[in-house]
Amino acid sequence: MDSRVIDEARAGGARRASEVSSPRRVNTLLRHLVIAVVVGVVVVCATYQISPFRNYQLATVAAYLCVLPGLIVLTGFNGQISLGHGALMAAGAYPVALSQNLLGGDAWWHLPVSILAGVVVAVLVGAVIGVAAARLHGPYLAGATLAVAVSVPAVATTFDGVFGGDAGLSFALAPAPSSLGAYFPFERWQAWVALLGAGIVMLLLANLVRSRYGRTFRAVRDDEVAAALAGIHVGRARVLAFVVSAAGAGLGGAMFAVLAQSVSPGAYGLTLSLNLVLAVVLGGLGGLRGAVWGAVALVALQPVADAATGWLDLGAAASQRLEGTLPLAVFGLALIVVMTTAPGGLDALVTRILRR
């Protein structure tokens, strides 16, 4: 990874550390709760103003927002890289499908229980990988997590009796509660569920990074030897960071399953894992807000690229060729532009513009 990004991330971390010790500080939890409620109210109001498809897109943004903050904590705050978070999402998604099919999925409590099952499984898988990863650094860690990203979807094809093979599993989902009205759009309900998940993740992680654990994570990232001399159990901190981000990934995967009402290995492949890393770099690793930009970028990418092909109007043959590859090219181009103009990601760029 570009060293400038890490530097910027460190600067962000340092800035935040000074904020924490400033005398103006009120209760962190309270402050975050107020922000969460304000943002929550605004977004829920917004879901009433937009079409079902936009709600579905918003829900997708929210599902990414369950994963990306955890990845920022892991990469930006703890200095570990993971190319295997797509696989952890699969670990969170399959239990949702399996338990929804087992329970029937029609009572109101089936969904929370299924999602919880997904998070628990992802945490367990994450703990195993985290323990292995705690001993690895840099490229070795990237390699190990890459192996996870490649191998976990293959489990579904191998044990196709349980996991439905390449076709995956689809499952029933209870409609929105009838108290919301008979014509409440299902997509708005999905958006609410995903937004609630994203809100919880953001709130918990925002508190975590400002707590003693957050400082421990950053200390380990900056200098392991110094951290160990200061009495920090380096291995434990690294495993904890991995488990926390795995929980987020599991929740995100569960949300993806809820959005699609199906899971399949193709949806959680290597491309997803790589897209997640690209998104947090694009959004900014210095703070959790980078996750918002990253999530929006992941969802906006396809429509923007489609629009671009529309403007270019290259003729049938050329646009057929570009159809699938152009979004990736746009993503790559955006990444290069952001890295060169704002190494701290979109978040740093926006902050800089707002300060002016």
Partner: protein
Amino acid sequence: MLRSLWRGVAVAAALAVVAACSEDSPGGSGAAVPGVTDTTIVVGTHQPLTGRAAAGYSKISAATKAYFEYVNSKGGVHGRKIEYKVVDDAYDPAKTQQVVRQLVLQDKVFAILNGLGTPTHSGVLDFLKTNKVPDLFVSSGSALFNQPSKYPDTFGFNVDYVTEAKVLANYVKKTFPGRKVCFFGQNDDFGADALRGVETVLGPVAVSQKYVPTNPNVAPQVGALKAAGCQVNVLATITPFTALTIGTAAKLGYRAQWVGSSVGGDFTGLSALLGKPAGVLLEGYVTSGYLPSPLDDANPWTKLFKDVNAKFNGNATFEVNTLFGMAVGYTFVQALQAAGEDLTRESLISAVEKGGFAGPSLVPMRYGKDDHSGFSGTQISVIRGGKQAFVDTPYVTDTGNGPVEPHPADASVPPADGIPTA
């Protein structure tokens, strides 16, 4: 604290702006039928334009679109021009979910036409049902898409896998009596349905092997077929795996009679995949089809579609998938004609259920109130001397225990202007 609060509000406002800049698109308010105006009909589809299934299949939607443009150039259907929105799902069921929602909720299409793939399309059946979107001519032979009581608006297009396997098995029974017959298929309902069809006609096969499409190593399975001494192998494999299987057998020095489903039996595609030794390896390969051969210039349907391909599809390579795409377009226009001038989703569905479509196919289509599956049979074709040609006459059968019966070869010709009438 104040600054943090302001930042939070700024982020929220940004999100709200992103969200609010896209209010419900207008147009839906006046018109009662989504996607239909006095001058246009908007139809959508999901196709694998990229990804592992793109080779070959990406040609289908382009051909359908070309046929629609041909119809539009002649004034459209009942004065309405057909607008065909093709979106790429890369054969990824998760992406299909997203793009079909885009087509239905945002683009407000009138119907989904020829959505391709069993794993991809099966995921959107419930969504389309809830939104009451006609789901015509699914590009798959799976029995999933023939459930009129559960999915009243969904119709399959391809010959179903059981029917085709029965016709293939019937040919094996007549042509290779007494030989040891084995089976090699995909580990989903494509393979399972085909095996069921084969065993209905021939009784239990000697050996049955399976593969998963994500693992491109079939040496163990082909080795098992060889070890068991199989003389005739019926394949339910997609085109890349047909090529892989035949190639692997050649490497293992294993000679057998290969009999493949039309799904993986496209001669042009197989030749391209196998490269130079294709001529030798594919000699004697048996497959079947329900549409005229793209190489048969004497067939008036092939000639018509070739002309359309030249004028409206940039003269792309004319192959099985191109002809398939044209046939989809032709059948859809026929359904629109039958639905009449007062086009609604209900009138379209009842027009298809009335059936009686006459088109480029070699066998009749089955559409009726209780049957939403496509073609009723196939005709065997054999590759000899680097050429694929039909033999005998078409055969039709059912998906149960019914007999496999010959269907007199149909000499239907397309209408003079190439556009079906009601």
